[in-house]
């Protein structure tokens, strides 16, 4: 069996490990347009911050490919799939045959067409190791940075470079930071914490045009900067599949076995859509844990196993300057709220189910809440009052605990 995986990040590693659970000898080829050993993308901000290095950033040990019997084709781009003859076409003209193919092509930064953007000399996106390297070249203690986008990427970037620049201004159209994962009250706490550093926010405004080193804002103000980082959003890379008639929407559409609509081709990771069990909708859940589990599931199925991935929910663990935030699920329904000094807990529940939560600062045992959402545990079956107060196994039935603490799980 010949397996080909396009991509070399989390979903790809998941797929390799998934395949090897089932098939110890099939040929695995990993193709990536990046030239590096598999690395952890979220660590690029930690790299700039100095909290990790190239060696420790490796998502898997140096002998990973060798141990798993993988052939790697790095630094080459796949330009097309010939589904009729089951080959993929590389930018150097070569063709790689496959029996099972997985696309883990990830996503790309999306940059809106700002007026005058061409006049900006020093501009970056923040997604890959190469992005981080080029941004690092530009940093300096007297540099002023403008980041467009107060989402996860923009803010992690800000944290990563804060110590190496004079000041950072973050502009976002939304009226709160991290708008995709936080609500107003939690965002305010995090914002206040971040503002203790050299980072300032301008929210509820967008850039209407650039002129060299000046950004003119929709509110009438302007920001002078030396470095621009665009972190507005990302778009799933779906073209390899859509080009050959595979079903795509915002992301590549798969079933719960991670099969695309094309025979023999699977997809996993940020390029796909998932079924979010917390809200019952298909959406792009570009999250690392999600990508791994999708990849692993695809790998197992590609190698003849049968595994479903049907527990996807949005979930994020993120920290800024020592303040930790964990969120999962959807912020809909009734709310249980506990507010402390610089800390916050919000649980969202509806229909006898926990739908989502936001924890700021005190995040211990958050996974117990996550499991309630993921496994759709009926709140009537547990001591909800207790679990609101603190995540604990005490809130579950004795029988549940006996199974979990007294059995192999």
């Amino acid at each position: 069996m010949k397996y080909v995986i396009i991509g070399n990040s989390t979903a790809a590693v998941g797929a390799i490990e998934g395949i090897r659970q089932m098939d110890g000898s099939g040929e695995i080829t990993v193709i990536s347009n990046e030239k590096y050993h598999t690395y952890s993308r979220p660590l690029i901000s930690y790299l700039l911050q100095g909290k990790t290095d190239m060696e420790r950033m490796k998502y898997r040990p140096a002998d990973f490919y060798e141990k798993n019997g993988c052939r790697t084709i790095l630094g080459k781009k796949v330009i097309g799939i010939r589904k009729a003859v089951r080959t993929v076409l590389l930018d150097d003209g070569s063709e790689i045959p496959y029996d099972r193919l997985m696309t883990a092509t990830g996503s790309s930064p999306f940059i809106p067409g700002f007026d005058g953007l061409d006049s900006v000399k020093c501009k970056f996106t923040f997604m890959t190791l190469e992005d981080a390297f080029s941004l690092r070249e530009a940093l300096g203690p007297d540099k002023r940075v403008l980041i467009i986008g107060a989402g996860l990427i923009g803010l992690k970037c800000a944290e990563g470079i804060a110590d190496h620049v004079k000041g950072i201004t973050v502009v976002d159209l939304s009226t709160r930071i991290l708008s995709s994962i936080l609500d107003d009250s939690s965002a305010a706490i995090v914002q206040k914490h971040i503002e203790k550093t050299n980072i300032a926010f301008i929210l509820g405004q967008s850039v209407s045009r650039f002129d060299g080193q000046t950004a003119y804002l929709s509110g009438g103000g302007k920001v002078d900067f030396d470095i621009l980082v665009a972190a507005v959003g990302v778009r799933p890379n779906v073209s390899l599949i859509s080009d050959i008639g595979g079903e795509t929407d915002r992301g590549i559409v798969t079933d719960e076995y991670m099969r695309t609509s094309i025979e023999g081709i699977y997809a996993a990771g940020d390029c796909t859509e998932s079924y979010d069990v917390s809200c019952g909708q298909r959406r792009v859940l570009a999250l690392l844990p999600n990508a791994y589990r999708q990849g692993e599931c695809a790998g197992i199925n590609m190698a003849g196993g049968e595994r479903k991935f049907d527990r996807a929910i949005p979930m994020n663990a993120i920290g800024f300057f020592g303040l930790h935030v964990i969120t999962a699920g959807s912020c809909t329904g009734e709310v249980y709220e506990e507010k402390g000094d610089g800390s916050l807990k919000k649980l969202f529940y509806d229909d006898d189910l926990l739908k989502g939560y936001i924890l700021v600062r005190d995040v211990e045992k958050a996974g117990i809440y996550t499991s309630l959402i993921q496994n759709r545990v009926a709140l009537g079956d547990i001591d909800f009052e207790l679990i609101c107060e603190k995540p604990s196994l005490m809130a579950f039935s004795r029988k549940y605990r006996q199974q979990k603490l007294g059995g192999v799980v």
């Binding site: 952890s40 660590l43 420790r56 979930m315 994020n316 499991s371 196994l393 603490l405 799980v409």
Partner: protein, 142 residues
């Protein structure tokens, strides 16, 4: 594979497991020396209610969500035991977000901590089990 199992029927909530765990992971030779004036941060924790108590530590799941979710590859499975590479961990807490038992916790050393069945410390075998006075925590094959 041998794992640590907890039977709440026999747990007394004495918390010796917590102290034995903390001690084992200090690397010191004497418990008094190691733990005096120290607020312990054990990898096994007692949950206590009005008439129930039990210890919780890593289950070393066969399908570990913490390992699968780990963004750095710092968590891995070695011979069935889920281990933390403290060098690689950046304390993003995705594992804390993922673990359905609340068995991974922050630590003061900059990496997360969890039960590693005492294979990395001087105890060699789970110290919580050795120190449990009532057989409520056992280390066995099931």
């Amino acid at each position: 594979m041998k794992r640590v199992y907890v039977n709440e029927k026999w747990c007394l909530g004495c918390r010796l497991c917590e102290y034995n765990c903390a001690f084992a992971n200090t690397g010191e030779r004497n418990m008094a020396l190691a733990l005096r004036n120290l607020e312990i941060s054990p990898r096994i924790r007692i949950e206590e209610g009005s008439d129930i108590c039990f210890a919780v530590s890593c289950r070393h799941c066969e399908e570990p969500l913490c390992v699968k979710g780990c963004i750095t590859g710092a968590l891995s499975i070695e011979d069935g035991i889920i281990m933390v590479d403290e060098d690689k961990c950046v304390s993003c807490y995705t594992c804390i977000l993922s673990c359905p038992y609340g068995a991974v916790s922050p630590s003061e050393h900059g990496a997360v901590q969890k039960c590693e069945l005492c294979v990395k410390n001087r105890s060699g075998a789970p110290a919580c089990v050795a120190g449990c006075p009532n057989g409520a925590i056992v280390y066995e094959e099931r």
